[in-house]
Subunit: 407 residues, 2 copies
C-alpha cells in the first residue's frame, strides 16, 4: 500500500510567495517519491499578529467569536496559495478550510479543542489523485461557527489529521532543524537530538521549548503517530518523536528547557484547613487560566503561604480572581512577581536515579543562583529562579549533564 | 412592525480601521433610529487586487476554485472587523461568511450566480437582537466549496439578501454620492439624480456607469426592492432606484454613459447564408464571453462583414475562437481593434420619441466624431466611436440634451 504522510508547514516556512513556491517544491518531491501526502499550512509569516493588531485598532476588546473568524482567514490564504503553487508544478491540489476538512471542535473560541475529524472530503480528494492542503489552527462548531485552536494549533491539526487518516507519519516543518538539548540561542554547543520519546518532548514543550505544540505531542502519543520535526529551509534530518524509548538512552538527561513566561502569585498567611486550595484554584480553572507550579509551605502555627505560577498574560486576571478569595478565607494578603523564569531538566527514567535532582541543585548553587520554587514529574525537575539568571543556569546545567556529548 | 434595512458598504468605505469605525457608527445610528439592519461588507480597500497579485506571484494561472477560496477571505476580514467595531459601540454584532449566511450559488468559480438564500441564521441573529454582518461577493456550492460572484458581487449579495428577507430597502454605500447624469470626472456640470427606474439604471450600469452591479439591479427589479445609492463619506441624500417611473420624467434622456472597455472583432467577407451567425457566436457563448454590440452589414454579392464588440480582457480569447470558424465558413479574414469606446444616452420612453437618435447623431457629427457602430434598446441608444473622442462626445451630448437642468 502507498504510504501516507501528513506534512505541516509553519508560518516562517510560508512567509513569502518565494517561500510558498519552495514549500510546494518539497510537497511535490514527496509526492513524486511515491507517498500520498496531506499538507497542513499555517498563516504566512506574521499574518496572525497583523490581524490581531488590526482587531485592536477597531475594538478595545474584540469579541472572541469574531476574532476567531478574523484569524482563520490567515491559514485559508496560505492554503489557497500553496495549492496554486502546486498546480503550477503540475500537481493538482485542493485547499480546504478547517470546516471543509471536517475539523470539528468544541465551542470555545481562541483555544478550542478538536472533538472529531471527519476526513471524508480529504479521502475523496486523495482518491481523486489530488493533494489536500488543509488550513491549520482552525475548526468549526455545531453551529457552523469558526473556532481557532490557540497558538501553535496547526501542529495539533496536523497530528489529529494524521491520526484520523491512519497516516504513517506526521512531519512538522518549521524554522528550526529539530529538537535540541537546549535552546541553541542560549547554549551554542546544544546538540540536535536524533529522536526523543513523546513524554520527553511533552515535558520539554511544556517547559518552554517552543519547537512543538504540547497538545499535538499528546495526540501523537495517544495514537502512536511518529512525528518528525525538521526544517523546511534545509534537508537536515530533523528529530523523530516516537514511542520507542531506546534502553541505552534511559536514565539520562535529554534536554534542558527554560521559559521566561512565568509570573508568580503568593497568598500569604493562609489558614491551614481543608478546602482552601480548592477555593483558590476553582475560580482560576473556571476562567480558563492554566496554573503551572504550585507550592505550599509547611504550616507554621496553622498558617501557610501558597504560591503558584501562571503565564504572564494571565497574571492580571489571576490576581484579580485570587484577591477576593484570599480576603474571604482570611488570608493575610496577596503578592505577585514577574521577574521569574523556570529551568527544567528532562529525561525518561529520571525517577529511578536520585542523583539528578542533587546535581541540578548543586550546579545552580555553585553559580550562586537561588531556587525560589521546585517541582518535579516522573521525567522532569523544574526550578523557578530569577529571570536574569536563567541563561546562565541553562548553560551551566547543559555542561553539568554533558549534553554536548553524542548519545 | 419594525423596518428592516440591508446596508452594503463598499471597499473604499472600509479601507482602514478608521473607516471601519466610521461605518460602524453609521450602522449603529440606523439601529438606534429604530430599524433592524443587516450589513453586507466588501473587502477593505484594495485587498482583492492585492490577493490576486499574490496569487499571480505563486502561479502563472491560478486555478479558479483556489482563487475564489483565496479572495473570499477579504470580505470575511472586513466583516469580522466591522462586527468588532460595532461591539465597541455597544451593539452586539455577528459576522457571517457567505456560507454561514446561507448564500447558495452555482458551481461556477469567479462569477457564480446566487441560486438561493437560506436566511435561517440571519433571522436567528436578528431575533436575538444582534446585527448580522454578512461577507459580500461570496457563496458556497453543493459540495461546500467557496465561490465568488465576480466584481461588484457584494451589491448582488445585498439585494439578494434584501429580497429573501423581505427588507423594506437596500442601501448601497459607496464612494460616490449617487447616480449622475454622466461621469462627473468627465462632465463637471453632471447632476445627481434624485431617483431613477430599474430599467434606466440597468442600461446605465451596463453601458459603463460603474455605480452599481447590473445583476444587483436586476434582482432589485424582479423583487421590487427599492435601492438607495449613496455615499458613506457624507450625509448627502443619494439616488433611489425603484420601480415607479414618474410620468413627468418619461420621454427624457436621463443620463449619458460611456465605457472604454471595448474591443471590436470584424469577420470580413462572410458568405451570407443561414447558420453563419450561430457558428460564430456559439463558441463565444460556450467560453463565457459576453458579446455586446453586433452589427452585420447589408450583403454585397452574397458577402457581408460581421462585427461585434467584447470587453478588452476577452479579446484575445474571442479572436482565437473566431479565427478558425471564419476559415471553416470561408470568410475572407478577421481583424480586431481596441481603440474604441461606446457612448450611450439612456431614458425610459425614448422608443416613443424618434427625435432622440437624430439629435444624438447630429451632435456627434457637429463635433466631427465618426460613428463606427450603432445599437439601440427600448430605452437606450449607443454609438461606438473612437476612444480618443469619447470624453468630448459625453460632454457634447450632456449639453445637447440639457442634462445640467433639474428634472
Amino acid at each position: 500500500m502507498k504510504k501516507l504522510v501528513v506534512q505541516k508547514y509553519g508560518g516562517s516556512s510560508l512567509a513569502s510567495a518565494e517561500r510558498i513556491k519552495a514549500v510546494a517544491g518539497r510537497v511535490a518531491a514527496t509526492r513524486e517519491a511515491g507517498s500520498d501526502v496531506v499538507v497542513v499550512a499555517s498563516a504566512m509569516g506574521d499574518t496572525t499578529d497583523e490581524l490581531i493588531a488590526l482587531a485592536r485598532q477597531v475594538a478595545k476588546r474584540p469579541p472572541e467569536r469574531e476574532l476567531d473568524l478574523l484569524l482563520h482567514t490567515g491559514e485559508v490564504v496560505s492554503c489557497a496559495l500553496l495549492a496554486m503553487a502546486l498546480g503550477d508544478l503540475g500537481h493538482e491540489a485542493v485547499a480546504l478550510t478547517g470546516f471543509q476538512a471536517g475539523i470539528k471542535t468544541e465551542r470555545r473560541f481562541g483555544r478550542a479543542r478538536i472533538l472529531a475529524v471527519n476526513p471524508h472530503r480529504i479521502l475523496q480528494e486523495l482518491s481523486a489523485g489530488r493533494i489536500p492542503i488543509v488550513a491549520g489552527f482552525q475548526g468549526f462548531t455545531d453551529e457552523l461557527d469558526i473556532t481557532t485552536l490557540g497558538r501553535g494549533g496547526s501542529d495539533t491539526t496536523a497530528v489529529a489529521l494524521a491520526a484520523s487518516l491512519g497516516a504513517d507519519r506526521c512531519e512538522i516543518y518549521t524554522d528550526v532543524e529539530g529538537v535540541y538539548t537546549a535552546d541553541p540561542r542560549v547554549v551554542p554547543e546544544a546538540r540536535k537530538l536524533k529522536d526523543i520519546s513523546y513524554e520527553e518532548m511533552l515535558e520539554l514543550a511544556f517547559q518552554g521549548a517552543r519547537v512543538m505544540h504540547t497538545r499535538a505531542v499528546e495526540i501523537g502519543a495517544i495514537y502512536n503517530i511518529p512525528i518528525l520535526v525538521a526544517s523546511s529551509f534545509t534537508d537536515a534530518p530533523g528529530t523523530l518523536i516516537h514511542g520507542e524509548v531506546d534502553m541505552e538512552r534511559r536514565n539520562k538527561v535529554r534536554g534542558i528547557a527554560h521559559d521566561t513566561d512565568v509570573a508568580k502569585v503568593t497568598v500569604l498567611g493562609v489558614p491551614d484547613r481543608p478546602g482552601i486550595a480548592a477555593a483558590i484554584f476553582e475560580p482560576l480553572a473556571e476562567a480558563g487560566i492554566s496554573v503551572d507550579v504550585i507550592v505550599q509551605n509547611a504550616s507554621v502555627e496553622g498558617l501557610t503561604d501558597l504560591s503558584f505560577t501562571v503565564s504572564r498574560n494571565d497574571l492580571e486576571k489571576a490576581f484579580s480572581l485570587v484577591r477576593p478569595v484570599a480576603r474571604e478565607i482570611g488570608a493575610r494578603g496577596c503578592v505577585s512577581a514577574t521577574n521569574l523564569a523556570k529551568v527544567s531538566i528532562v529525561g525518561a527514567g529520571m525517577q529511578n536515579a536520585p542523583g539528578f535532582a542533587a546535581r541540578m541543585f548543586r550546579t545552580l548553587a555553585s553559580h550562586n543562583i537561588n531556587i525560589e520554587m521546585i517541582t518535579t514529574s516522573e521525567i522532569r525537575i523544574t526550578c523557578i529562579i530569577s529571570e536574569d539568571r536563567v541563561q546562565e543556569a541553562v548553560r551551566a546545567l547543559h555542561r553539568a549533564f554533558q549534553l554536548e556529548k553524542p548519545d
